[in-house]
Amino acid sequence: MKKWLSLFVVALFVLVLSACTATKDAGEKAPETNTEKEGEEKETVVETETEKVLTLNNGNEPTSFDPSVAFDAVSWNALNNIMEGLVRLSKDHLAEPATAEKIDVAEDGLTYTFTIREDAKWSNGDPVLASDFVYGWLHMLSPETASPAAFLAYFIDGAEAYNSGEGAAEDVAIKALEEKVFEVKLNAPTEAFLNIITNPSFFPVNEKVATENATWFTEADTFVGNGPFKLTTWEHDVSFTFAKNENYWDADTVKLDKVEWAMINDSNTEYQMYETGELDVSGVPAELADQLMDSPELKNEDQAGLYFYRFNVSQEPFTNKKIRQAFALAVDQQEIVEFVTKNGEKPAEGFIPYGFVGPDGKEFRETAGKLVGFDAEKAKTLLAEGMAEEGYTDLPEVTLTYSTSDTHKKIAEALQSKFKEVLAVDVTLQNVEASVFATEQKEFKYQLSRSSFLFDYADPVNALESFITGSSMNRTTWSNAEFDKLIADIKNETDEAKRWEMLIQADTLLMAEMPIFPVHYYNQVILEKPTVSGIVRHPVGYMDLKWADKE
């Protein structure tokens, strides 16, 4: 008994002791870091007049800073500022020469020749060479890299073959003609080519650095970029920092000295840190959207993409066009953005969102007009007609499926009540976990299901071609020969005006056939401190801090 007792006491003692040392350690460590921090802060205080530090939140650890590996905003919003491609999106969202100073396009629209700036340099001082682009692009296309963004480069001759493992790297039509001259050959004229290569997956990779160290992009010490900023620190899962890149060819334009990125995943915490002044920019937590919508610090900008619903045209009753139209016209887009999502979105009037300007200088959406919108009377008539055509006395049961999330649920319920109110149809709601949802939608298991689209590059064809027969993005089983031909023609048309005309036709046809119905276009709602200016957010593309400033 006594022995056990003493053992217990000893054990307890050890526990207490270790606890004490643990806290002591923490206590000792803490002041150190504190003083360091204070030191840093003091420095910044001393230099306040000159130092401009912007604090942002990246939400999460970037997937990868290898330009070929990640395919998400969490990596590319940052990467877009520490690297630069041949072209860069301007403040007006147009592709402009960047690392390249001169771009020559051959008459057939297939061959592009880029002359790289003499003063284009890497952050380590190396000159940016045409061979760095060849290296970077082939790295993206290599099947071993397994880049999810590689399909963007399929416009280049030989690219798809190489990426699928059937062709060789030498057959990809990209070449360094001279040290600073880079040539690309496409397999078809592509209007949007310059816009496509603003995408981070087309950034160059410093060949010398990458061959010496295959994991150069994983730490701040080894990272070499060529953007307006350079990566100075990167504490994984915690934060990373940018400093102005003195080697950048246009360094005079860059006003900020430093950018500090936190990784706060929770939108409420992010907003609270914005409130306490620890962040300069924040998103809007869903619960506060209502009260923050009128805040003078709020910015509402277009994002090219939309929220929509897919019919399965192989499952009754949506095999009938009129019944599809009836369901679509029963949906009140305006009501949904005003009372359900309440996030300042624009209601959808066709498949292509705002922000695409044609050769005539007019918005695509304006020329195409309002192709879909709430019309209760017409919806009722169409449903009656469609049911007569099919010989239904009762409409087959309809189940609406969405992936589990609060917003999706709210919209699904709004649709359900509208179908009931306008068409007197009872629709069953079903929610499915997101990843299962994605798989099953692809397998055409749902009758009516939610979906969304975000543009990869700024050309309406990017969205429209989803619906050609057999496309992996189709997911409706819809197939229409006229539409397929239209898209094929669009891809081969070199006359801009004609092409634009056909794009509008395609949007109109899609909305008439109604294999899908659009709900609302996406937007970016951001809170930004009044002292911050010049952060550019593109409808298609990633955040740009090149022109950003802070008072």
């Binding site: 880049s147 493992g165 994983t218 706060i264 409130e275």
Partner: protein, 311 residues
Amino acid sequence: MGKYIVKRFIMMIATILIIASLTFVLMHLIPGSPFDGERTTNPTIQANLEKFYKLDQPLHIQYLSYLKSIVTFDFGPSIKKPNESVNELLARGFPISFELGMATILVALLSGIILGTIASLRHNGLVDYFAMTFAVVGISVPNFVLATLLIQQLAVKWDLLPAATWSSPLHMILPIIALATGPTAIIARLTRSSMLEVLTQDYIKMARAKGLSPARIIVRHALRNALMPVVTILGTMLAGILTGTFVIERIFAIPGMGKYFVESINNRDYPVIMGTTVFYSAFLVFMLFIVDIAYGLLDPRIKLHRKEGDA
């Protein structure tokens, strides 16, 4: 005792293997793939990705390489973060979760036991009611509600403490309070009820009759026996808290490993699911083992080899 430990150790390995195999089966039973999202991946690219992660191989080969990865404790690269191995993710996240968890457990254990003991000594008194009201509130208020409240009041309104992130001891205070309240309440209730039971036992009366000081009776005689149920739950509690908590780490932007448990499953990030599950189950099984040993230390009547005979 030695024989018992060896036997338990073999059992532990078997348990982990069973858990791991079940996880593998379940993981591949749920529909969905790591590459599925709103954007349907181009078939060529999907093939490249599957090849990269060796998901194109038949399931039994995948299972074998999976078992191998458990034995060598090398789970390969994460699918969502291709530049990092699961080992790196765990090695980075676990120490932080462990630090937060250890502090939380210490706070919860000390305050819970003290609160419970005092409550039992002042049975049905004001202190008792106060402590038990606290316990009920502590158990019923979810920690994420408490966390948000704490940030809103102490950080945003009063500006006393930083709202989030993990960089100094000051930053640790709010998450520890938010995380420790629940366990504190549970420990306090357990301690109180078993103290009440123990205090009526004959040997306590005997000790009193002998004229021992009340402090000595409580600490050396009563509390020691009363702590058995606390030790029982401590094993699972430790494993749960030390390996990170998804919600609290998310709210306070603490870079621990809690998020990987949830995110890996949402993303179908197979290597990370494997890594976290095996790590957690190994940790849990080990904690339960420690608890069994601790029983013997606390209560000499529990003889480990006899227990072995029972089983």
